[in-house]
Symmetry: C2
Subunit: 207 residues, 2 copies
DNA sequence: ATATATTATGAGTCATGATTCACAAAGTAA
DNA sequence: TTACTTTGTGAATCATGACTCATAATATAT
């Protein structure tokens, strides 16, 4: 009775991807509230109503955009980091990767950075969903490993995670708002440098 | 002809302040787009139309809220920092002050943090206005002084400013979204600790 | 007390844009 | 080709909320 779904599924999947791409681009450009569903539909070359065949509503679409993007980012990190042994090097490489990704995908970067923070109201509607949480957990794991291996001095890993992410996040925000003031390469080196020096285990004390 | 305006001015000033306070509270709670002018009016106990006697429109009101708040924050910083000599101590004290202020004024903190980043569209409408810029300049000055005095090693001051602000900003964001995970005191100490160690001029090298 | 200037009111206007739904097109099986 | 299922369309609906404006209240001056 059920007929061959493969083609259909491919078609649907492709259209879904088109929609996500269009949505990311538009959200990045105009912000969440500045974006009309019809903008996204037009960019994806479908009718307005079609959007609702693939996503519950506008909120859902935003959330799905995040999920796709962060999943992509973490998958890329997995690949790269699996070739590295030293836990401290993993943390530093992660910093590089994050910045590189934002540089290569400025729309994604804008989405992460500008729309990351919806109002508390927004998140109240979706209590278990804070888009970055998965990503922070990933970084947290790297930090914890490096601390346990004694490659970073014994600081609170959650706090360290927060500081690293916050530094990157705001650096990239500044970069996006005024490309000229600061360049990404120096951000990459500078953040790593300061954090590294702030973190390396000293020859003498503690733990 | 012009009659005694003093009382009127006081009354107007007071009402303006009431409106700003109500707006900060409401924006903090519901976000910019989630806030209705009528919400603010109700909280300030005035009619909707009254809001427009004091502010151009909703955007203008948001901007004025920032201005008030950051001015307040910097004034407090001026007072405190003027009693301190050592430029490095100034930077570290500034970190303390920022966190203390956010702890004591969580509504203000939310406004700074959550509404800091309107969409690029928003800022395109007001090209010369990026609310944090003044504040970053203030911090930048402190960093530059500390570097020039040789109390911090020779890093790019703009980058350092960005990293400090980013760390604080995101730490406080996390704190606001999930009070339990991390506490502000440890954030304060941790950020200062890591940055301090990452920044102190080493006995040996450079500059 | 009266005239005038200032400030406040809130119901009504009006544009906007998310979402729906009756209908159309395209795909699949026989 | 025919019957049926899935997918797509976009005009119409409908709620929302920023902003206006005719009117009222309050303050000041003389």
């Amino acid at each position: 009775m059920a007929y061959e779904k493969t083609d259909m599924n491919n078609r649907k999947t492709k259209k879904r991807n088109d929609l996500i791409k269009a949505a990311i681009k538009t959200f990045a450009q105009k912000g969440f509230h500045g974006t009309k569903i019809s903008d996204i539909a037009k960019k994806a070359k479908v009718a307005d109503g079609t959007v609702y065949l693939y996503f519950e509503n506008k909120d859902d679409l935003l959330i799905k955009c995040f999920e796709e993007m962060l999943a992509d980012l973490m998958q890329k990190a997995d690949e790269k980091l699996s070739t590295i042994e030293d836990p401290l090097a993993k943390v530093l490489t992660f910093i590089d990767l994050h910045i590189d990704y934002c540089e290569k995908n400025p729309d994604a970067a804008k989405l992460i950075i500008i729309e990351l923070r919806q109002s508390p109201e927004f998140y109240k509607k979706y209590p278990n969903f804070w888009p970055v949480r998965n990503y922070l957990n990933y970084l947290n794991k790297l930090c914890t490993d490096a601390i346990e291996a004694g490659r970073i001095r014994n600081v609170n890993p959650e706090l360290l995670t927060t500081i690293i992410f916050g530094s990157l996040d705001f650096s990239i925000t500044s970069w996006l708002l005024s490309k000229s003031v600061i360049n990404l390469k120096s951000i990459k080196e500078g953040v790593a440098d300061i954090l590294h020096k702030g973190l390396e285990k000293e020859a003498n004390n503690e733990k």
